[in-house]
């Protein structure tokens, strides 16, 4: 309760500051076009009226917070959650492939990290290619992946989830390789004196020691996974999901729609990161973590 209140005040204060800055930017960024517009329409409004107009354009360069808020509110709460236009529905579509991809990605990332830490051949040969794989611009190959998978008959959630997997396994691999190698030498020596098997050293020492690295990586991975899910929605015809909303907004310069989809995406991202963070803290607590 206390921690709740100690969070609420700073968050609202900073949010308020962001909103004020946002309004200022909105006026500044929308003004040139409004001036053009007025000029073309041969109007010369007063300052207050002008500012009002910059904040109520239908397709503003930067929508004002209240425009986004209204749009967000309408599309979140006023539409049935099964409607194609509901943000809740679209967020759910994205979230489901995000979660699936994140689960795959985390598992794959850990498996690769374990391989790299334990098998000299993999450490030497695989890591450079894992890195190279991440420099492939996913948006360029995603369509090909989707086309190929569709040809094999895999459609729906899985192709999108695979793109999430592709983006999210990497942070986990990098973090876990570090984490699995982070035990103190003395602890490794101790396991050595017990002639512990690799599996035992792994489960009893390397895994617990890597936990802080794992959760930090998972926070990054879950955000990457969301990006992957959104990217994956584009070449599948952008039918539903936050990515589809973003794209549809972009075709028609519906900046307010874009922004409210972005807000929805961020809310989902923040929630996911928060859930991973809380999970991390719970695990730390269960492992006898010392309060800072």
């Amino acid at each position: 309760m206390d921690s709740f209140r100690s969070k609420i005040i700073p968050v609202t204060t900073i949010l308020a500051a962001v909103v004020v800055a946002w309004y200022v930017f909105a006026v500044v960024l929308n003004a040139p076009f409004q001036r053009d517009l007025d000029q073309r329409a041969n109007e010369s409004p007063g300052t207050a009226e002008f500012i009002g107009k910059t904040l109520s354009q239908p397709k503003p360069t930067l929508p004002a917070p209240h425009q986004v808020a209204v749009n967000f509110f309408e599309n979140t709460f006023l539409r049935s959650v099964t409607s194609n236009r509901s943000l809740v529905y679209n967020a759910w579509v994205t979230l489901s492939s995000t979660l699936l991809g994140f689960a795959f990605g985390t598992a794959l990332g850990i498996v690769i990290a374990v391989g790299i830490v334990h098998v000299a051949t993999l450490d030497r040969s695989l890591m450079p290619w894992v890195i190279a794989s991440q420099t492939i611009p996913i948006l360029a190959v995603a369509p090909m992946i989707i086309v190929v998978l569709a040809a094999v008959g895999i459609t729906g959630l899985i192709p999108k989830a695979l793109i999430s997997t592709y983006l999210s396994f990497f942070p986990v691999t990098v973090g876990m390789v570090k984490g699995l190698r982070s035990p103190e030498l003395m602890h490794l020596d101790l396991m050595h004196t017990y002639n512990a098997s690799r599996a035992q050293t792994f489960w009893k020492l390397r895994v617990p020691a890597s936990v802080p690295f794992l959760f930090t990586s998972m926070k990054v991975a879950v955000a990457a996974s969301l990006v992957g899910a959104i990217v994956g929605e584009l070449p599948t015809g952008a039918v539903a999901g936050i990515g589809a909303k973003l794209l549809a907004g972009a075709y028609y310069s519906q900046s307010i729609d874009i922004w409210s989809a972005l807000v929805a995406g961020s809310v989902v991202a923040a929630l996911l990161v928060m859930v991973v963070g809380v999970a991390g803290r719970l695990v730390d607590r269960a492992m006898g973590g010392r309060p800072a």
Binding site: E184, M186, H187, D189, L190, M191, H192, T193, Y194, N195, A196, S197, Q200, K204, L205, P208, V211, M287, G288, G289, R290
Partner: protein, 263 residues
């Protein structure tokens, strides 16, 4: 030296050189040593002379760069794989994410003891080091000495025939130390374990050992080996006997000879 009993540790011309950023450091040089079954050998010598390194070589945690060593007639590696020894490190090396009792359970889990037997050994060894009541605490909730005792309990629970102990009692007060010395002697006598024991305390070395190896530094060499003439059964007050004091004096001399504070 103790040719009659089979050698548990036997080293000849053992040398070890570390490569560091500013040149090689010779930690051990030309060490010859044979330790028979059931012996209690103490290593004593100035700080940095190579005692830990020698123990680590026996334990297959460091590879010697010259000379030969065998443990139980095998290479240290084979001996380690046979779980021939228990090791108490100079620092406690407890896992921070395990409670004390689970730290002690660690080696037992690894050798695959049943839960019941684990519980029994944990209880027994924690009582031995007087940590009953602290089973559920995490290491950072214990004092330095308590952590060290937990790590001793962990090694004792492992119950190997050869015990390698690196200053196990350094962080303990005299009373606890006396108590644990007695317990260790009693254990040694009862189980006929072989014990290699690093210490800085001359009385402790003399009280416990059948043989005392005095080392001198840079490079670490064995400068003296002193056979104890004390009986195996040793009450605490043996430490006031002239025989005891004579041996202690000899150790002190050996120590001082190899020392650099001669000024």
């Amino acid at each position: 030296m103790t040719g009659q009993s089979p050698a548990v540790v036997s080293a000849s011309k053992l040398g070890l050189t570390f490569q560091t950023n500013d040149g090689p450091v010779q930690a051990l040089s030309n060490v010859d040593l044979t330790i028979g079954k059931g012996e209690f050998v103490s290593f004593i010598g100035p700080s940095g002379c190579g005692k830990t390194t020698l123990l680590r070589v026996i334990a297959d945690l460091e590879k010697p760069t010259s000379g030969a060593i065998s443990v139980n007639g095998m290479t240290p590696e084979q001996a380690r794989e046979k779980r021939a020894y228990g090791y108490v490190f100079q620092a406690a090396a407890l896992f921070p994410w395990r409670t004390i009792e689970r730290n002690v359970a660690l080696p037992l889990e690894i050798i695959g003891l049943s839960k019941a037997e684990q519980a029994e050994r944990i209880k027994r060894t924690l009582e031995l080091v007087n940590l009953a009541g602290f089973e559920k605490k995490y290491p950072w909730q214990l004092s330095g000495g308590m952590q060290q005792r937990a790590s001793i309990a962990r090694a004792l629970a492992f119950d190997a025939d050869l015990l390698l102990m690196d200053e196990p009692f350094g962080a303990l007060d005299e009373i606890v130390r006396d108590h644990l010395n007695e317990q260790l002697l009693e254990l040694w006598e009862r189980t006929n374990k072989t014990i290699c024991f690093v210490t800085h305390s001359i009385p402790e070395a003399v009280y416990l050992s059948t043989r005392i190896v005095v080392m001198s530094p840079r490079p670490g060499r064995v400068s003296d080996v002193i056979e104890s003439t004390l009986p195996r059964k040793r009450p605490l007050d043996i430490r006031e006997t002239p025989e005891f004091l004579a041996i202690a004096a000899r150790v002190r001399d050996g120590l001082r000879a190899g020392h650099s504070y001669d000024d």
